[in-house]
Symmetry: C2
Subunit: 327 residues, 2 copies
DNA sequence: GGGGAGTCTGACAACGATGTCATAGCGCGG
DNA sequence: CCGCGCTATGACATCGTTGTCAGACTCCCC
């Protein structure tokens, strides 16, 4: 900037004025400055500018589990979109469901002075975010609520969705329904299990414990879980899978079997409608989740200081056929 | 930091030393400082630190078309991973294939002084990146080469893949093969078309122009394209779709037809193996692409100044059945 | 006791930008 | 010709850090 000033024969302050479109610069001076900027290829240093102005950095942080999971990439895109409409940029980081990693990412984002933080919380304790929050960084949680922290939260109706899934299967005559969920310390898995139990109770279905399988949604453990619920003495006639990963792994594992149980999956996924049978799902919109979380965040950043809210987005059952398959 | 210094009864410089683990601070002093830091909830301002040090900001920018597309989200994840291993964070932005938007994103990232930039180029002209590059920001292009700019580039073997697809279809007796590709000003679409033509020539297949349909991969235009190649007087018996979006839309449109042509798609996609018939694809690994691009970028950031290289990653045909369907 | 080496600390400037305030120059009415 | 008001500009301090350098102090040996 000093160089530009020298070349244009003006002071740095005048250059600053031109760069920031401040009024009160003579047009001739301005064009000289612009020429100098051009010829030197000058680019304003946003970091320094932010430092001086002392306000926003124009960035928000997004901590999630894994961008490459379509659920999170849809969410990411929506956050990006909202951020863009507010002239803001997004720092993303995948925690891989590792609480330590999540903590690190959040801390790094805060050290970079993001103006706000959207977190998909992993692990049991999010009190570590309190200092940041108290220091004035708005925090919004998406998909799961934080523990040990009060913050705006956007969820989907996990319990209602799971109940609807059970009701759908029960309506098609199923009485032995298995639940394949993620590790139960994950909030959504726990909620969906709760909804599942409630749904079973409402339908008067007895629920032997071996039909409940909670494990990380990897190919291997879903395979194990399937064997456990299908190969026993009283095999399940229907499955409810707790998230898109579990559903996909289950489909692949089922593919090798002659006899396929009915299936309803939580989370919609691409091509679910083209499989045969097409897969019935509890659908919700990851983009809607991201959008809602981001809008909430920007409202906070604009100064909204009402008490923290929890928003629950609706889900809907999309019947596609797989829920009707009967043994 | 001044506050911390005052509370600890030392100078700011000493606080700085403690914060940065510089040697030569008396343990007692250090613990007093740490106590003060704790009690004030002090967080070092990385932006200011970077400004003073004048070096890296510890961030890289990633400009792509759309994070919510699984191809790009896989790439993003890989970039993030490599960046993490170098202690770096990632700013992402989706251009939606809009050159103006791409330009904006790149410029904003540069104004934030990213240490490097990975771009999936859109549009015809990337000379606008030259000043940034010349100013010392390493730039790597992924998936497509830049035009009007010399930069490291990581591609996949578009031509070879398309040739392989045609060869596969020809080997199964097809002589009327249609190509459904993206708008031809997109590099990958052009290359795949070239490979397609070459493959046809090699197989001695004549190629009427109405079998070549280039359009944005939306549901509507793929539907139109399909009607054009299947409902004419000499309908295609096989399709080659130019990218994952086109393949998915084509599958959905084909689903309503009684008679399904053989199909090979460029880009692998989840569940391709579970459809019936399973979809034969030209597969490559988006994560590998991201990793290679990021590694190249960090090599440049570490000072590698060898001439710009172009790397072409191999693709492989994954036969799954759909390529063998015959009319 | 003088002096050199070593340890610990702080004053100050600087990174690149901008807010504040002062000032130079101009036109114009009285 | 004075002085007011307005426009265009610049000097300087400052944002939160860290590099440089100098100073104060201790210790130890001749």
């Amino acid at each position: 900037m000093t160089d530009v000033a020298r070349l244009a024969g003006v002071s740095v302050k005048t250059v600053s004025r031109v760069v920031n479109d401040e009024p009160g610069v003579h047009p001739d001076t301005a064009s000289q400055v612009l020429a100098a900027i051009d010829s030197l290829g000058f680019r304003r240093h946003i970091g320094a500018s932010n430092l001086r102005r002392g306000r926003s950095t124009g960035t928000v942080g997004l901590v999630l589990e894994d961008v490459s999971n379509p659920f999170y990439s849809g969410l990411t895109r929506a956050v990006e979109e909202v951020a863009r409409s507010h002239g803001c940029q997004v720092l993303t980081g995948s925690s891989d469901a590792d609480p330590t990693r999540e903590h690190q990412l959040a801390a790094e984002f805060c050290a970079r002075r993001v103006d706000g933080l959207i977190v998909v919380p992993t692990g049991d304790q999010h009190g570590y975010l309190a200092p940041e929050q108290h220091a004035g960084t708005p925090i919004v949680c998406a998909d799961r609520p934080p523990r040990g922290l009060t913050a705006d939260t956007v969820l989907v109706d996990n319990v209602g969705g799971a109940r609807a899934a059970v009701a759908h299967l029960a309506a098609h005559g199923h009485r032995r329904i298995a639940f394949l969920g993620d590790s139960s310390h994950i909030f959504t898995a726990g909620e969906r299990l709760r909804g599942f139990r409630e749904g079973c109770a409402l339908a008067g279905i007895e629920l032997p414990e071996h039909l409940i399988q909670m494990a990380a949604p990897t190919e291997a453990s879903i395979g194990d879980a399937l064997r456990a619920v299908l190969d026993g003495p009283s095999p399940a006639t229907a499955l409810f899978t707790g998230n898109n990963r579990a559903t996909v792994h289950a489909l692949r594992a089922l593919h090798e079997r002659d006899h396929r149980p009915a299936l309803v999956g939580f989370d919609d996924f691409e091509l679910a409608d083209l499989l045969r049978p097409a897969v019935t799902v509890i659908a919700h919109d990851p983009a809607e989740l991201g959008r809602a979380a981001a809008e909430r965040l920007f409202a906070r950043m604009r100064g909204d200081s009402t008490p923290a809210k929890q928003v629950v987005l609706p889900v809907r059952l999309v019947p596609r056929g797989s829920g009707e398959v009967s043994t």
